[in-house]
């Protein structure tokens, strides 16, 4: 079942030296599954996520044939309707978690506000729920964190707080932009477990943007690989290591490995043809979303 269908998404920015095409014709669909997006720094991953939520600010321009959420084209909604989509149906964990929190409001209050906006419950019940959410993302001393300000949090604590906040509205789709990049592996496993459960038990669709190829390969169902504003390859996550596109292969070869030390890491020789050349895809994975049975 398709939750989200994006066709020919483009994001452009006017610059001094002409128009910069940051996202160039991205198409994909998302079912009740875990869809990974990996790719070059600056390839348009975050902008794709923001564009879906119509969060690209002036002077950026977004175009697409459609961005359909269960058949409804988000591009045609009013800003007011769009705010509802953002608050309730699609959540996004931004790449800069602390930046998305209100710096002058205590962490707990922000989560409580989010709860109250979503559910008709008492302030006390919301507080209990907030503490519960913090504990769910492995925050050690949830009471202290509840009363703390965002700047008093470590990098990984900020990420986990954002994830907790974004899950409160029980969204149909979660777009998570590098959500676990500051987490040690054991906390990471915990947090991924929560997202995984939502996909399996509630049929949430997850877009998981990450640089961690091993993680994406193990955790996701399908992967889009982006380069220069385009999706250059789509594959099943567990087949990532058999990827065909030279960019993807180059990525796999440039990872350091704990068990096989090398003096210098292999670097990519970027080829101009990757910007516009063929798109590799494995037919199984590229077509319409393979829904996970729920």
């Amino acid at each position: 079942m398709t939750l989200l269908d994006v066709e020919n998404l483009c994001v452009k920015f006017p610059t001094r030296s002409g128009v910069f095409d940051a996202v160039r014709g991205v198409s994909f669909s998302l079912g009740r599954e875990r869809l990974g997006i990996v790719g070059e720094s600056g390839s348009g991953k975050s902008l794709t996520g923001r564009a879906i939520l119509r969060l690209i600010r002036h002077p950026g321009v977004v175009t697409a044939n459609h961005i359909s959420l269960e058949g409804e084209n988000l591009l045609q909604l009013s800003e007011r309707q769009m705010r509802k989509v953002r608050g309730q149906r699609i959540s996004m964990v931004m790449q800069d978690p602390k930046f998305s929190l209100n710096p002058v409001m205590r962490v707990g209050e922000q989560i409580v506000e989010a709860c109250l906006q979503h559910e008709k419950i008492s302030r006390n019940a919301a507080k209990l729920k907030a503490i519960e959410m913090l504990e769910a993302v492995s925050i050690r001393d949830s009471e202290r964190v509840f009363n703390a300000y965002p700047h008093e949090m470590s990098g990984g604590m900020g990420q986990r707080i954002m994830i907790a906040m974004m899950l409160i509205p029980n969204p149909q789709i979660l777009i998570a932009d590098e959500p676990t990049s500051a987490l040690d592996v054991s906390v990471q496993t915990q947090v991924l477990g929560i997202m995984d459960k939502l996909v399996r038990e509630r049929g949430m669709g997850l877009i998981f943007i990450s640089h961690d190829l091993n993680l994406v390969s193990a955790f996701c169902d399908r992967v889009l690989i982006m380069y220069g504003g385009r999706v250059v390859e789509t594959c099943q996550a567990d087949k990532l290591y058999e990827a065909k596109h030279p960019y993807t292969q180059g990525l796999l070869n440039s990872m350091p490995r704990l068990d096989t030390p090398v003096k210098r890491l292999q670097v990519l020789k970027r080829d101009a043809s990757w910007m516009d050349g063929d798109i590799a895809s494995d037919s199984d994975a590229s077509g319409k979303a393979i829904g996970r049975s729920v």
Binding site: F13, R16, S17, V38, G39, E40, S41, G42, K45, S46, Q95, D96, K98, F99, I139, R140, R144, E152, S154, G155, G156, M157, G158, R160, E178, S181, A182, L183, D184, V185, S186, V187, Q188, T189, L192, G193, D196, H211, L213, N214, L215, A218, F219, G250, L251, S254, M255, P256, R257, L258, D259, P261, V262, K263, R264, L265, Q266, V267, L268
Partner: protein, 270 residues
């Protein structure tokens, strides 16, 4: 992005004594707040980095890794214990000389870049503060070194992707030609190909200029690639310091380290 030997001209003024240690930390404790609100973020940490060493800090999220780096750079005032940099005991204040020798790449590149300063301003100001000449050429060189072309020179932080901002922060730290770099998750926002370029750059710089690195990362493969010694932190304490060879063979004497090493062997869905 190759690092050639005439990268930056003047080498630093003799960085301190001949003791041979770049960083010595003994019995360092750092706390925030007081009374009932007190958080003991670092408890009695000790370690030594000889000049030219590369030392990794890994461990639990919230265990005090960033706090150690922030105490070293003078960003946290409430600490006790001893910290020496290039043989000199650190007090509460850090002068300009200190920042000429010691630079830090922050975990959160968005917060560490001024939103209304262009990349050019960030780098030029750092260079002129430390009295470098031919700023124009140096700015271009720094940008090239971190894999950002000169086309990014007049951008503002909000016009950059996460990884591009991270690279600006790395360029800024390299600008004064420091002898010690404190790196807080320097590559966690980068794709693995750019990560490889940055790690190679750091390897080259260290070889040419005998730089010393103190690096925090949750990525054990990255730490293993760059560092010879690794300290493992949990709940404010260094629970173990082990050589990289042991880490590679998953040999450790502490159960938390063992747990971390095993967990790093891959996400397993449950």
């Amino acid at each position: 992005m190759s690092a050639n030997s005439n990268r930056h001209t003047a080498s630093n003024a003799d960085p301190g004594s001949q003791s041979g240690n770049a960083i010595e930390i003994a019995d360092l404790s750092v706390w925030f707040g007081h009374g009932a609100d007190r958080v003991d973020a670092v408890k009695s940490a000790s370690f030594v980095l000889p000049r030219g060493a590369s030392f990794g800090l890994v461990g639990e999220s919230g265990s005090g890794k960033s706090t150690i780096l922030r105490a070293l750079t003078g960003l946290v005032k409430s600490w006790q214990g001893t910290m020496l940099v290039n043989g000199e005991t650190l007090g509460r204040k850090r002068g300009k000389d200190f920042y000429r020798q010691v630079q830090m790449v922050f975990q959160d590149p968005y917060a560490s870049l001024h939103p209304r300063h262009s990349v050019d301003q960030v780098l030029s100001e750092t260079l002129s503060l430390h009295k470098f000449g031919d700023i124009n050429d140096r700015v271009e060189k720094l940008l090239t070194d971190v894999g950002l072309g000169p086309q990014y020179r007049f951008r503002y932080p909000h016009q950059l992707s996460g990884g591009q901002r991270q690279r600006v922060a790395i360029a800024r730290a390299l600008a004064p030609s420091p002898s010690i770099l404190l790196l807080d998750e320097p590559t966690s926002a980068l794709d693995v190909s750019v990560q490889a370029e940055i790690l190679n750059l750091l390897t080259d710089l260290r070889e040419e200029q005998n730089l010393t690195y103190l690096m925090v990362s949750h990525n054990l493969a990255v730490v293993g690639h760059l560092c010879e010694q690794i300290a493992v932190m949990q709940n404010g304490e260094i629970v173990e310091i082990l050589p990289v060879e042991d880490m590679r063979q998953l040999k450790s004497s502490h159960h938390y380290t063992q747990h971390l090493l095993e967990a790093s062997m891959g996400y397993k869905s449950t």
